[in-house]
Amino acid sequence: MSDDFEKNLRQHLHSEAEETREFPRRLRGRIRDGIAPRTRARMVPQLALAGALVLVAIAVLAFRNPMIINGVITSFKQFVQPSPSPTPQPFLCQDQSGGASGLTTQLTKIRPGSHAGDGYDRVVFDFNGGIPSWDLSRQESATFVRDASGQTVTLDGSAGLKLVFRDADLAGGVASDVTPRFSSIREITQLGNFERVLTYGIGLSSSQCVRVLPLSNPSRLAIDVATSGSASTTAAPTPLPTLSPSGTDLGAFSCLDHTGGANTGSAMQLTAVRVAHQPGFDRIVFEFAPPAGATAHLPAYTVSRQASAKFVKDPSGLPVTMRGSSGLRIVFHGANATSYGGSRDLTYTLPAVQEVEQLGDFEAVLSWGAGLSQASCIRTLELTNPIRLVIDVQTP
């Protein structure tokens, strides 16, 4: 017979269970990814059998006519040799992403090359185990923010590309800074290498459209940047996402990473995260309070733009895919969310912000991600009473 204790237990279990309000999209994505290889795995015996039959057929033919073996060798050489130069593809004036997650791969070399005669400069990133997941975002200046330290670095040039590889290690001997000083590509430098996330900044002489070519044998990612006035680009360079007209006292939107705050004193405590739409932008607010007896201040922060809604959790390294096709990563140094009682995964159907989720809270480094409907410029505001970081994401 059920007594009060059992009733309480039942109620407690229901209320605890209801804290999980929805089936997470990232889990759905992981399951979806997990069932995809089944078809391929089931094809392996058939492919092996087909391969064996081809070899037997070649052997029989070669026995009857030895000349045929030359043709086979030629075809085989073509198959195993590095893939030929890429077929012409359009240069795109937008952020791009691609690659595969979950690989064990190393970046082994960075090779810049000028193809000025063909209208572009190229930088090739070589890998020894497949091309990892990558995001390429364009920006209006050659100033970048280094991962972890949050320091800014200005490369040669007046525009830039930020390239992020996930699930990739760095082999020994890869130069951390290369300065080809070509007509378009001026400098390539490593911005970060942490938790299997490699980040590179590419300084460009001016804002140009880009063609990205994933190539195999060996695995490599070629980034082609159109040279100024090149006729080879099939699309005229479109401007980067528009900046808001000045005239608002909140300041202009910018398509750069943003940094600010200060990592001093006691770790600030996150108390609230709010998201709302306002005319022309979606606003994300992080509110903080100091621990008892400590001085209030806005913790050091970096807001980085990225060309996909895929993130990596800190410190587990687990991938997270949020809603949207673009993203912002917000990292606070000298902050934690231990006393934060709100939801750590918020979903929205706003013009720009689709999802906001905590990515990490470890050793006073607090990370959140935002999934956006498209690449957008941002504006940050530092407010007091209470301490807040406001991130306005420009809406289409």
Partner: protein
């Protein structure tokens, strides 16, 4: 005997059997949240619970041939329980060993009034098997017989497991005295 399916769900399952991934996702929509909540009650860790449910659906996808003409809910729950308990055992092997020796010794763990816990923390102290029994019986409202079938143990074992779990929870929360 398995529960009969409504015809709409039956058609979804047939599409799934034919390899239709959209149909599989419809099933995931229908049962995923309930399974995830139950796994969280057992594992007490959202990340582990997601791992268990990920493995549950991947196994379900591979083993659809073993689902008879029945509602897939109990079948998925059985897989989810196996995954949750085996994940719990892998993560708490040492703890499980300690508890086993504790039980063999017959020693009853005394709980002082200072150490009384709230229900959430008391649930943390149960074994994975006990929490699975409690979650299915008190959260999913399965009968003792259904819970036993789901966890593949005899009904008497399940009765004893639930009784032990309840006694332990009362003891840890200090509710024992009130109902003694």
């Amino acid at each position: 005997m398995g529960m009969l399916m409504d015809p709409t769900l039956g058609r979804v399952i047939e599409r799934w059997r034919a390899g239709d991934r959209d149909a599989f996702e419809e099933v995931m929509d229908r049962y995923g949240l309930q399974l995830l909540r139950t796994a969280r009650l057992i594992l007490r860790d959202p990340t582990l619970a997601e791992d268990a449910i990920q493995e549950t659906f991947l196994k379900a996808w591979q083993r659809i041939g073993s689902l008879r003409d029945e509602d897939p809910g109990p079948w998925l729950t059985r897989i989810a329980m196996n995954e949750s308990i085996s994940l719990y055992r892998r993560r708490h092997r040492f703890q499980a060993l300690t508890e086993r020796f504790g039980r063999l010794g017959g020693s009853k763990h005394e709980v002082s009034s200072e150490a009384r816990l709230d229900l959430a923390r008391a649930l943390d102290q149960l074994t994975g098997e006990q929490r699975a029994a409690v979650a299915l019986h008190y959260y999913q409202d399965l009968s003792v017989e259904e819970t036993a079938r789901m966890l593949k143990v005899p009904v008497d074992t399940m009765k004893s497991r639930l009784k032990t779990a309840l006694r332990r929870l009362r003891e840890l929360t200090g509710a024992e005295e009130a109902f003694a």
